[in-house]
Symmetry: D2
Subunit: 424 residues, 4 copies
């Protein structure tokens, strides 16, 4: 299924008047509205290929319907999202779930939907049917050099696929760690992992980056060998200038101040990418902005401040991606909600009066510092996000149009009621 | 495979001298050694039928080998454990994974291994292939009365199976809850759940108990409809005298004082059962005693104190069960380690000088209170546990004998390398 | 210092046009604006007498200036807040810090500021200079009946003061608990505490309520004898119909779902009062709404839903109070920010389309449930709060006027640079 | 008061037979007993001068009696501890609470008790009465260079005192941070702090070390400018070879894996010191080993492994110190319990069969890894600790002798019932 541009225009015309009223009101109180809108138009959030199907937990999975059965259908799904919001212009592939048969055809298909290929993702946290050695006790950390080598080679193969597709970065998330005290020696595990990463790093094309993603716990429940930003930064620094830390919002211990971590990583020039989701307890992988929207805003405030301090382009300097699980919602609807929440938080951060904030900070006027942030956060910025969509040819209200066009029903008709996408 | 009694005796003889030396030393410093030993001999920990295979996480499962392929083989596995330690004399079945075809044959098989049937467990957290209505949005809490009714009927069927097998209690763990704010109305969810539980309660035989298990989060990540001991107690009180709360060690928010919860539930006469495991982050389901053995001791101290205050029989008043997941260890070895840790903590609790503790408490002598507890905890009580095993005809060192007898290798020979047990 | 009504009118006139534009826009998209405004006008948040000075931690206190030196000056401070926002029409006294010398004069002073006396608060978590027995090892839980008796008598005395002032409720927050395993017997501590509370309960006037406040930890760091809502509810149920649970936002374990707790307590008819603040790690006592404003909204959503289900009057059925500490902000400014955040969250909750929400819940349309809540939350409701203030004779922007009128500077002139209010 | 050596000998003789029996039994199962005992004899734990009085919380303090009123009496107190256990041979001073008047006399007094001066500690988390600029909004992070300069100069003064006393290291714990979002710019705060630390570093004598202590939260409740090990390591690396990270057990987010942090810091050659205490919720500052003794053992296992891998001397390479608060126990008794728990954990770590552990790790034999650790941990090692004390001339049971000699009663007689030591 593809969404006809004309359908979008028609929908927008129906809501044009209401939108104009709201946008005019919103715009009347802000400076530099055009600058903000351009940034919103430019900002694109990658969609991971594994998040287009229904997710589950170890207790089970309640599958949805009309899920994509192939890489082509996954691209089609992201194309649908992008048509609706023009903010999802990239897809992030997972190997081996998404190995293309015909690179040229896949690239053409993506181009047709206006999509580029973001970071490619390796998988050494599961055993594949034809795999020689098991990752049961880790991959890059493994005590057996042969297992480490297998993991390294897999990553190099992932890079090869990425090169063919026009991607320029590799995300390495390792589930390596231990579930029991004594199971491994932390130092050995670190050093083995570093050695493995160095071998992957050596195979990186010149213009590529590698992102070392950290996670505090799960699926290992005692230690993780890339467990926090401090460890990730150690690896990245030891690897070299093409290596960066990747922050996933759900990968922290309770109460961690993620906005501070982001700020320091940017200060060090070592923040490479970002995975969006939300959570209350652990790596819950809920819809972005559904639990802690103020934290999301504060993180964007740190991001904007830190990127601006280094003259970084908001849209292109970091790899932005959603990484959530859709257990009880339609995956496409869930992704539309996540993108909306991200755009809202980004807009709020753009509206922060940075000059007033800096002034208040210099005077230790904590009350005013809070007022400045809350002024931006309490503003209803949805009209800006909608306006940016309007200007990009997207729908004023993507979710509503998704439902009015009966997208899922159409996909079920095309793909069937019982289809299960690869993924978690 | 069955373990010949003679093998155990032979093994024990080989370690008799070493054991005697340690036991004599240990016994020389304690009063009432015989009383303690008798309690250890009597204490039996149920083994859940779903924990005999390799467990996994949402990220994958690395299967083991020689796993039980049927209810009969699961009983055989528990029989092996019980032969080795004589402390695992009960099995807890899960319906629908363990529906018996022939009750009489199954009962005879269990009896042959010296096993009885503990609490039966229902499952409304997954959809079964032939199931009419889905539990995707809950079971007993569901907004649709028909779904609730289906869940109730399933529980009544579980009771029926249990009656046939000689079980006398039902454990209800509900994954019901919500993953997003607004998804449900907490009050409605509570009231629906209560209504459903009341219908199940009405179907309980007179001499049965029902255990309402609570859990703070997972697989729902915003709210759980039986989320903490306070909620479970509300249900149990509203249900009536046959309803009790069941505590699973891994089902709490970070830093919860579980020993206090246990104490208060016993005070209220509403503690019904106990699920053992250990964890560092969430419901990690690790080997009991592998992460926080002192907490386990403190919980047993509360249990012993609370049961004694009500004149409850340690061995029979509460339903004791292990409920762990074995992702990186051989399930049987893991269970042997868990039972050992439980027996150790129980012994330590039995050795607490309750009179001295009470005295110190009365004097607010906090230093001495701590000394009294640590005196028991720091004692090496393994010789007592071993002696109790010796007297029961079990192995002095179950794990060592398990390995020497090559139990797993034998099971693989019998069952095959690639067998996967039902379960999580 | 008192704020002249004329000053407020003058200020409001200066901002009238801007306000009208915003209010008209906001009102144009909402139904029942008048109903909402009336509820906002009626809603009053109590100010605790101990929060008018600079707070501190165990590491130190950095005092502010112009702090109130007496009960009279504390009433004056609350009067200033109330003049500015007309939403702080009550003061909650702490005994022994605020023992009035002349009830009649104090009542007259409060009336002059339009203030009533909310719940009175006892203090058995500190030793007072002239106190006979120490609370070092607890008060109502104490192993020594004489200490318990002293604590009971203190509470009865607090009630007497409250009666004289026209208060009609007592808040009991106990720091009782233990810092080390073994220090106390949980059951004995519970039973002693219950007995003490029963004695206090017996002394309650017929039309009074007693609120049993719970807290997970601090200042005791192993167990708290009223540690969670489950325990508090146990006490309240055993005490009788005049006893209720009081929820303080900062008194929970990490990640607790407070909105669910609130909902269940309302369902049980046992929610009595509410203490507002915000926190990231523990009982941080930060400005309400400064860390987790969405959680605050969700809590208000549960409150509104639960109160409406029972036909409770929002403004009068529960005791609403701020309970925060002001370590780095001017206490009065901080309180203005807290009240503003509370009013915003309350307004957002009032704007939730309950009918649509219920419908979506009935259909398990989780996406729409979230949309309904976010629609209310993302709305800029500040114009409604401002309009309610305008109608009550308060300032459109209380904090701005506070600064323009140089209130703190005036108080410093009156009271001096180095004045320290009693409190934490 | 001083404890006569003869008293100790007499006491030990009374318990010699019992001890010998236990020690002989314990020693009979271990290799290299003499090597372990020598390490225990050598191991010394510093006592902070501020932990000799009763501690408190923001809610109050319940003072004890006979607390030291001067630096001389604090040294006397540590001398008493050291006489009893011969494991507390160092004192760590806090400036400005412990500024010596006469260095020579103080050094002589310390020498007389067999004590050396460990790391000196600066204090920029409180304002002192005569202080020019306030640290309300931070010290080394402060936006005002003059405040930063003041903090730097204070640290330099602390170094000067330390040099006079023969100390060779400075511990810098900063409470710097923010309590509200927006209050500071994380990057600016980091850079200001780094600049300040660099100025202090420049003033370090050649043979000195500086320890940068991190803490996750409290007394700032939104962000801490040296908030975790990653940040501390960043500072230490940027400062140079004399700068190290200091780990305090209570300064982490919930569930942090401290033993892994320790291991990685040792791998990086950047672990400098260690503060012992225990906690359940936050920086509870409870008696070491009173809550999570197994974690303490695991940490020591990492320490021993990491130090041995680098050929570091256990006793002298790291700065070991207790840093706890004594709210409900006699401070000296509490410290005796802490030292005992530390020595026990250290001994258990020394008894780990490292060869077997490494072997099991190489084979991914997770069950056996756990067995190896638990074998050491479950051993009753108290006889080794006691034997080491016996050989050092300390008491077999320090706490018992402390009570038998009525040490506190004697101190009360000497110092009075109402004395309050400086400190937290």
């Amino acid at each position: 299924m593809q969404i006809d541009k004309y359908k979008i225009q028609e929908f927008n015309q129906g809501h044009a008047q209401d939108h104009k009223r709201k946008f005019d009101f919103a715009a009347s109180s802000q400076h530099n509205v055009e600058g903000v809108l351009q940034k919103l138009v430019d900002f694109q959030i990658g969609i991971p290929s594994w998040a287009l199907g229904t997710g589950g937990t170890r207790f089970g999975r309640f599958s949805g319907s009309g899920e994509p059965r192939s890489l082509e259908e996954k691209i089609e799904d992201v194309g649908l999202l992008h048509a609706l919001n023009q903010s999802s212009g990239a897809i992030s592939l997972h190997i081996p779930w998404d190995i293309p048969n015909d690179y040229k055809a896949i690239k053409a298909l993506a181009a047709q939907h206006g999509l580029k290929f973001d970071a490619v993702n390796s998988n050494t946290f599961q055993d594949q049917p034809d795999q020689k050695l098991s990752y049961k006790f880790g991959s890059m950390q493994h005590v057996d050099k042969a297992v480490r080598r297998q993991a390294v080679e897999h990553n190099i193969e992932v890079i090869r696929h990425g090169v063919e597709l026009g991607s320029d970065s590799l995300t390495v998330w390792l589930s390596d760690g231990s579930s029991f005290p004594g199971q491994l020696n932390f130092r050995d595990a670190f050093e083995n992992t570093l050695e493995s990463l160095q071998e992957v790093y050596a195979a990186l094309p010149d213009d590529w980056k590698v992102f070392v993603e950290y996670k505090a716990f799960e699926p290992n429940f005692y230690s993780m060998t890339v467990g926090d930003w401090g460890q990730s930064l150690l690896y990245a620094n030891k690897l070299g200038p093409k290596a960066y830390t990747l922050v996933d919002l759900g990968h922290h211990l309770p109460n961690a101040n993620i906005e501070q971590i982001v700020s320091l990583l940017l200060m060090e020039g070592k923040l490479g990418g970002f995975h969006f989701n939300d959570s209350k307890y652990g790596d819950d992988d809920l819809t972005t902005g559904s639990i802690k929207p103020y934290q999301l805003f504060l993180i964007f405030n740190s991001l904007v401040d830190g990127m601006d301090a280094r003259g970084m382009n908001h849209a292109t300097s970091l790899a932005w991606m959603i990484d959530a699980s859709h257990n009880v919602k339609d995956p496409l609807e869930d992704l539309l909600q996540s993108v909306e929440a991200i755009m809202i938080a980004y807009t709020q951060a753009l509206l922060v009066d940075q000059k007033a904030l800096k002034e208040a900070q210099q005077e230790n006027d904590v009350v005013r510092c809070q007022e400045v942030l809350q002024e931006a956060y309490r503003t209803d910025v949805r009209p800006f996000v909608a306006e940016a969509r309007l200007r990009s040819g997207a729908a004023l209200r993507p979710l509503q149009l998704f439902r009015e066009l009966k997208v899922r029903e159409n996909l079920i008709n095309e793909r069937g009621l019982k289809t299960v996408a690869t993924g978690l």
